[in-house]
Symmetry: C2
Subunit: 468 residues, 2 copies
Amino acid sequence: MEKFYVEFIEENPKYIQLQMHIKKLIDKEEVEDGEKLPTIRALSKFLGVNNVTVVNAYKRLEIEGYAVQKMGSGTYAKRKLLGRCFRKEYNETFKKLSIEELRQSIDFSGESTSSSYFPVQDFKEILNEVLDRDGAEALMYQESLGYKGLRKEINKEFWSNELTLDDILIVSGAQQGIDIVAKSLINVNDNVIIERPTYNGAMMVFNWRRSNIFEIDMEEDGVSIEKLQEILKKNRIKCFYTMSYFQNPTGASYTIEKKKKILALAEKYDFYVLEDDYLSELIFDKNMEYKSFKSLDENNRVIYIKSFSKIFLPGIRIGYVITPRRFREIIQNSKIHTDISTSSLMQRALAMYIETGKWKSHIELLINEYKTRYCFMENYLREQLGDKVDFMSPGGGLNFFIKLKDSVKKDCKELFLRCRDRNVIITPGVMFFKNESEGIRYFRIGYSQTSIDKIKDGIDTIKDILEE
Amino acid sequence: MEKFYVEFIEENPKYIQLQMHIKKLIDKEEVEDGEKLPTIRALSKFLGVNNVTVVNAYKRLEIEGYAVQKMGSGTYAKRKLLGRCFRKEYNETFKKLSIEELRQSIDFSGESTSSSYFPVQDFKEILNEVLDRDGAEALMYQESLGYKGLRKEINKEFWSNELTLDDILIVSGAQQGIDIVAKSLINVNDNVIIERPTYNGAMMVFNWRRSNIFEIDMEEDGVSIEKLQEILKKNRIKCFYTMSYFQNPTGASYTIEKKKKILALAEKYDFYVLEDDYLSELIFDKNMEYKSFKSLDENNRVIYIKSFSKIFLPGIRIGYVITPRRFREIIQNSKIHTDISTSSLMQRALAMYIETGKWKSHIELLINEYKTRYCFMENYLREQLGDKVDFMSPGGGLNFFIKLKDSVKKDCKELFLRCRDRNVIITPGVMFFKNESEGIRYFRIGYSQTSIDKIKDGIDTIKDILEE
C-alpha cells in the first residue's frame, strides 16, 4: 500500500494528483500489469481522502486505458507494453548494428526472405516497363482501394477469381493491415484474444488501442478449443488474432478441422477472426494443404491480411486486406486516414510481376532453396542440441522455436547476450510474450539470412555457449 | 426525452442496453454532436430505473468516447464525424469518377501539383541509377528513422544542416505523419485545438483518437490570439494543429509575429504546436517570407510535419516529421507499429533527386507555372464574380477559398451538384468544417489541375449557375 502514498499539493484536484501518481507507478512498473489496485475503501482510508476522490481517480485511469474495472471484483492496472528493460536492450542491439555488421554476423533473427534471392534485374526491367507504359500516372495517388490491375491479379492468382475486386484493399504491408483493422474495429477496453506467444508487432497495435488482451497458449496445431470456449463463455470478445500457417514464433499451423471449429465459435459468439497470412507460401511438408481461415469462412467472420513483404521483398511495402462487407467502408476510411494510399508505382510493378508469371517461378525458387536449409537446420539441431532443447518441426516457414530443457542452466536472455558477443544473433523468446518472464526459456532461430555453413557455425556456437 | 426510451429485455444488464441505445442515437444523428444528454435524475425517472443504471451507461459512453462529461455541467454527446450525408455524396462523386473522367472535367478540386509537370523521364533515370548502385539493398527494410542519405539531404537542403539526423523521421506522407503523431500523443478525451475551417483528413484523425476538439476561427493571418487564450485559460490543451502557410482551405498564412505569440503561449500553457507544412514552397508574393513555426521554436514546442506529396508527386508517399526529443522514441515506435518503414527505393530516389539539384529546379518551374495561373484566376474571379462572392488572395499555394455573398440565393451544396452536372468539380466548404452547416456558404477552387482556358470556362460556368 505504501507505494500508493501521495503528498497532495493545494493547486490541483486531489483525484487528478492520485490518478497521475498511479499512472506513474504503472509506467515505472512499480505496479504490475494486471495487478489489482487497492479497494476504494482501503485507499481512501490510507490517504485520508473522501471515497469519491479514489472513485474519480480510478475512473480517469480507466478512461485513459490505464486500468480496467472487472464487475464485482475491483479495478486492475493495465500497462503499456513499451519500455520494458530487456526488450529495450534487444531493440537497442538492432539499432546499433548497421546492415553491414548484421551481414557479417550469423543472423538467425531474420523474418523475411533474403535479399540475395531477390531478382533485382527483373524488377528493374518491370519498373521501367511500368513507367514507359503509364508515365506520370504511375506516380499519382491511387484509387483508395488500390490499383485495380493489382487487385485483378491478386484475385486471379490467389483466389481463382472468386472474390469481387471491391473486396480487396491494398495496404502498405501487413503491419499496416493490422493497424488499420485495429483502428476500425477495436475500441478502448474491447476484448481481443491473441495466441501465446505471438508476433510482437500485433501485440503492440492492440496495446496502443488500449484493448484488453486475453492470451491462449499455442499447441502444436493452434490454440486449444477448450480454452477458447472458456474465455468466450465469460467474455464478450471482439476478435481473435491468429497466424494460420507457421505461426510466429512457434511455427505451428492450424489443422483444417480446428479452423472450422474456431469459425463455428466465431459465428456462435459473434467475434471476428483476424487472420495474418504472412508466410503460407513456404510449405515444405507434402502432407500439408493450404486452406486459409478465409477460404473456409462461410459466415463472413474472417478479416484476412496478406503480406508480400516477408516472402517477396520487404522494401516493397505491399499487402492486402479482405474484409467482410459490413466493415468495408470503415476499414477503407481507416486506410485513407492512415496514409491516403500505397505507392502507386510499386503496386503497378507487383501487378506486372505477378501477371508475367515471374512471381510463381520466384516462389518455386524460394521453396527449393529454403527447404534445403530447413532440412539441414532441423537435422543439425537434433544432432547437436537434442539433449539440451526441445522443438517441433513446422514443415515450412523460416524459423524454429526452441525451448531450453530444464537441465540447461542458462536462460534465453543470457544466451542472447552471449551469442551477440560472438556475432550470432538469435531472437529471445521474451519478445513474443505479453509477460516477458513467460518467454525466458525460449528462443527463435531462422535460416532466412544464413547459408548452410553459417547455420552450422551458428548452432555450434550456441552449443558451445550452452555447454560452458 | 422520448427518443431515449428503451424497451428493456431481460437478458442483458440494463445499463448496457441503455448505453447501446444512446450510441445508436448518436450514430444515427438523432442525438446531435455536442447535445446535452438528459440529467441522470431525469432519465432514470423517465425510464423507471435506478440512478446507477444511468450513471453506468454514461460512464461507458464516455469510456468509448461517445460522450464527454463536463464538470458541474452534465454529460454531452460526442459523435464520430463519419457518415454524414452530404460528405458521403461528395465522396461518392469522387469514387464514381474515373481518373479519365476527372481529366475530362474542369477539376477545381485538386490538392497537389499536376502530373503533367512531373519529370517522369528524370525520375526513371534516377530509379535506375539507384537500383544499379544499391541493388537489392534498395528494396529491403529501411532503418526505422528512414534512409540516412535522405535525412542528410533534407537537413542540408531545407535546414542548413542545423538539425541532427536523428531529429528527422521519414514517414509515408503527411497524412501518416499526422496519424502517428496523434497515436503517440493524443489519448481518448485529450483536448486538441484546430483551425476552423481545416483539413478534413486531420480532423478525422483527431476524431478517431476520440479527442475533444476545440475550434478557433481562421482570420486573414491565422487564428485569433485572444480566442486561443480564452480556451487555454479554461482547458488543459494537448496540442494545436495548424497549417502555417496557405492554410487549407482558407489560404491564410500566419505572420511571424503571430507565430511567436503562439509559441510563447505553448510554453506558458504547456501544449504543443503540430505544424503541417504542406505547401510553403509555392510562395508567389515577394513580400512573404518563409519562416516555419519550427524555425522560430526555442522551447521544443513544435512537432513539424512536411509533405513531399503535394508539391512533388503524390504517388511517392514520402514526408518527414521533426519532433522534440522527449517524444522521439514514442513517435518512432508509433511509426514502426503503423507500417514498419517507408518504401526504401522511393526514399533513395528522392534523396538522389534532391542531391543532384533537380528538386530545386523543379520547384522553380512549378512556381513559375502556378503563379501565372494564380494571377489569372484571381483577376478573372474578381472580374466575373466580384459582385457575388468574397475571397482573399493567399499570395501562393494552389487554391482560393470563396464565400458566397448574402445576396446569392444558392448554397454551396447546390452549387457543387449543379457544377458537377456540367462537368465542373469544386470542393464544397462543408468538407472543412466539423459542423457541416457552418460551411454551407463556402467553396474552394484550385488551379493545380486546370489550364488558363479551363479556369476561364470553369468560372464562366459557376457564374452561369449562380445567375440562374
